[in-house]
Amino acid sequence: MKYRLLAVLAAISLIVAACGSGDDDTTTTAAAGGGDDGGGTAAEVIDIDFWVAFSDEARLGFAEDRAAEFNTKHPEYNVKVTSFASYNDAFDAAVLAVDSGEPPGLIHFFEAATRQALDAVDEAGNPIFKSVTEAIGGRSEILGEPVVLDDVVSAARNYYTVDGSFYSMPWNTSSTVMFNNMDMLNAAGITEPPATWADVEAACEALAALPDGPSGCITWPNHSWFVEQSMGQVGELLANADNGRTGRATEAYLESDGMLEYLNWWKSLSDAGYYTYTGLQRDWDGTSNAYIAGEVAMLIYSSSDTTFFDENTDFTNVASFMPRNGDVPYVGNLIGGATIWMLDGMDSATEDGALAFMNFFSNPENAAAWHQLTGYIPITQAAVDLLESQGWYEESPNSKVASDQLAAAANTPASLGALLGNFVGIRDIITIAIEDILVNDLDVATRMATANEEANKSLTEYEQLFGN
């Protein structure tokens, strides 16, 4: 009997404690909110969730700092940055959050899944995202923040414009460039960074002839993005309907002449021992380490790490255009990276806050700082002008290569890059096929025919699920 009473008492005290702590929490939040916006009442602060697919301190920190600045400048808003491990994680979480009625306001999502983002719908069948252009509706400033969307450099604008509408706000945007260890190349008698495939081969031959040359010559990640870049360079489409830009892509072109020529060249470099394969797909770290360690003289990579290579190499590091097939007229390289998508269904005050934040986030000062921090291209012309006036490009010439390369590209469907459904899966199909070709010494045409079959199946299934 005594124990039963004790048990009841214990249970009651637990319940009381739980309720009590709940009350405490509410009070603390209200107090903190009041403190943040400098005296305004807590109820007026509008929360805007911004889901970022970066988790490294530099890039996530940049987003957090800008959000904090924005919150200070606009105390009626509270932009909250949440970090996700990958674009897919953030996207899946957003789709689920929409269905459960707690969506974020803004989400950071990558270029390859543009088709998927446009096609994504909630349980009622409404599109999840809203076009940023449409939401801005021709205004030149929102809540005092000048609109910078119109000033976005054309390569990015063209990539993300689908059916005539510029849907999402570009953030991290890069292109492929080649980093050259000029100390090694000079030692082999090469004075200029190789510009064409033939130049690369010649440089590799010269390096191999050196008694103390590097163990490899060139490397780049086995990532489908580099394949897509090479198809843009020679003007070859990856899929029908103009790369999925004038309609929905239903057929893949993974066994085109341009593709076979490129992969045969890649394989020949590998067979000759010039191309170093790290043995992993999408191996950004391994290839970058091989270059920094001096195991290769050339690295084809994303311009996003230009600043990193400038700071972390103890040799003369020179960036140049991605090498191209010299026998074919050059068409153009494309962008890569990610944009910020705005979710549909916010009330107008929240939406204006989200739009103001996006434009603040990419205002000339912020866009220039982002470029200097990483090597992603300055996303607006105003940011380019600002950097020029500061003399940044004289100080850091490698930083200009990606922008110049994109400016030199023609505006064709091939050089804009493809918009495909299931693109992430199709990219996997491409990189697995290439690994198979490189490691198991397979015939390029036969293996790519299989890959094309798989990609077609993937596109067909995507249309079954998302097509009209």
Binding site: G279, L280, G425, I432, F466
Partner: protein, 459 residues
């Protein structure tokens, strides 16, 4: 087609009662037939009879019949338990409920349910519902955020298998025949004869024939089929490798560390540490050791001995060996822990007697220690296999990402790659179901074979 299946199920019900139960009678024939028909009808009704639709292939029919058979069999097992209870025959007296049953529950039938409800709710929400959802997803073509999904019936399964339904039936039947043949031979041969030796060999061959039959049943790819055969091979090699190396290494080290050494406690504690590390960290550690560019091992071999170590990720055998090594190392601490505990139960007087009788160290180990720790071995076999099946994803993702060209992509890695990374939920779910069936199969097989050889001591 469905009717044929149901008629067969009804006959099966009668046959089951006649041959497998103790008191066959007319009402029981009827009950069993009805139960078998109901059990067989569950899946075709749930799936809208799609396995027998006009466009269904032979393999689809086969899978539909297979599910009907499984449903009927489960129903018959339930009916059998019911008959046993009616006859007042309870197979195993449960030790935990023995006392309570006599007294009944004093406060009403609902009290135990109320007390159980927190556990039941958690099980339903986090286990049963997701499991059922996986089964429904596995029959669909679907993606997150898609406006619609397409019912594909058994499509996600049949694309992993060969397309010839006759072979698909024949191979497992041959393997089953081999097993029963070997069993028959074993029971008919006298111990110690040449015939018994032959039967021993035959039972090993029969066991291997199961692996071969499964190998032959999975599709090698091509013609719109998914190349699942390589995934099967990888899974078998890597899982067997991890379990064998992890358990043998665990027992060997535990046996050495069990002796009275100075500072033995510290030593034994340190040995268990790898278990505290997550599979992802194990992957990173071994990556740092063997990486061709940044690896410590590679660097040491090159600078000290001038040996150029090949990139393990470009050779299937090396890549598999690296994965097995990293995963076995990670589970080693766990195995050592249990074997250290198990070794304490080895009867010392028996070992002393064996020493006096002049048994060598190896003989003592083989005839006294090994049987004494057999319950631990059996337990570890189950847990290690579960580990090898489910927890190697992170290790593989860090070390090879399935390289070279998918030769280290095991079932769980493939499930996550297909279902999560490329967002193909239906196919991922179908492969999960396959792995689920595989784990059930392997566990049942372990209980039937090793279970009978385990000695739990006692009087």
């Amino acid at each position: 087609m469905l009717i044929i299946g149901l008629v067969v199920a009804a006959i099966l019900g009668v046959a089951y009662v006649q041959w497998r139960t103790e008191n066959p009678s007319l009402p029981r024939f009827g009950m069993a037939s009805a139960a078998a028909v109901a059990g067989a009808a569950v899946t075709p009704i749930a799936m809208g009879q799609c396995g027998f639709a006009a466009e269904a292939t032979g393999v689809d029919n086969l899978l539909a019949y297979g599910l009907m058979a499984a449903g009927a069999w489960l129903a018959l097992i339930a009916v059998h338990a019911l008959f046993d209870r009616a006859d007042g025959r309870v197979k195993e007296e449960s030790q935990m409920t023995g006392e309570i049953r006599t007294g009944g529950y004093r406060m009403g039938w609902w009290v135990p349910w109320v007390l159980l409800s927190p556990t039941l709710i958690i099980l339903v929400v986090f286990l049963y519902y997701p499991a059922i959802r996986t089964f429904t997803l596995s029959t669909q073509l679907t993606r997150l955020g898609a406006p619609k999904s397409v019912e594909v019936c058994f499509g996600n399964f049949s694309e992993l298998l060969i397309t010839d339904p006759v072979k698909l039936v024949a191979y497992p039947l041959i393997a089953l025949a081999a097993i029963y043949g070997a069993k028959l031979w074993f029971t008919r041969s006298a111990p110690g004869t040449l015939s018994r030796k032959g039967a021993d060999v035959a039972s090993v061959v029969a066991m291997l024939s199961v692996f071969v039959a499964l190998y032959a049943m999975f599709s090698p790819g091509g013609g719109g089929q998914v190349a699942y055969r390589p995934v099967y091979i990888n899974t078998v090699i890597i899982s067997v490798g991890i379990v064998a190396l992890g358990m043998m290494g665990g027992l060997a080290i535990a046996y050495l560390a069990f002796r009275n050494l100075r500072g033995g406690g510290v030593y034994r504690t340190l040995l268990i540490w790898p278990y505290a590390i997550s599979p992802a960290v194990a992957g990173v550690l071994f990556f740092m050791i063997f990486d061709p560019t940044a690896g410590i091992f590679t660097h040491a071999m090159e600078s000290w001995f001038g040996i150029d170590v090949p990139n393990y990720r470009e050779h299937a055998a090396l890549a598999m060996a690296a994965i097995i090594l990293a995963s076995a190392w990670k589970i080693l601490g766990y195995n050592i822990l249990f074997y250290l505990a198990g070794l304490q139960t080895v009867p010392l007087e028996q070992i002393e007697a064996a020493v006096i009788d002049g048994a060598s160290a190896w003989q003592r180990f083989k005839t006294i220690v090994l049987p004494a720790v057999s319950p631990i071995t059996f337990f570890l076999l189950v847990t290690n296999l579960t580990y090898a099946f489910f927890e190697v994803y992170a290790t593989i993702d860090f070390m090879t990402k399935g390289a070279p060209a998918g030769r280290t992509s095991v079932a769980i890695y493939e499930i996550i790659r297909v279902g999560v990374n490329t967002g193909d939920l239906g196919r991922g779910a179908a492969q999960s179901v396959l792995l689920f069936i595989a784990v059930i199969g392997v566990t049942l097989w372990q209980f039937r074979t090793s279970g009978s050889r385990v000695t739990y001591g006692g009087a």
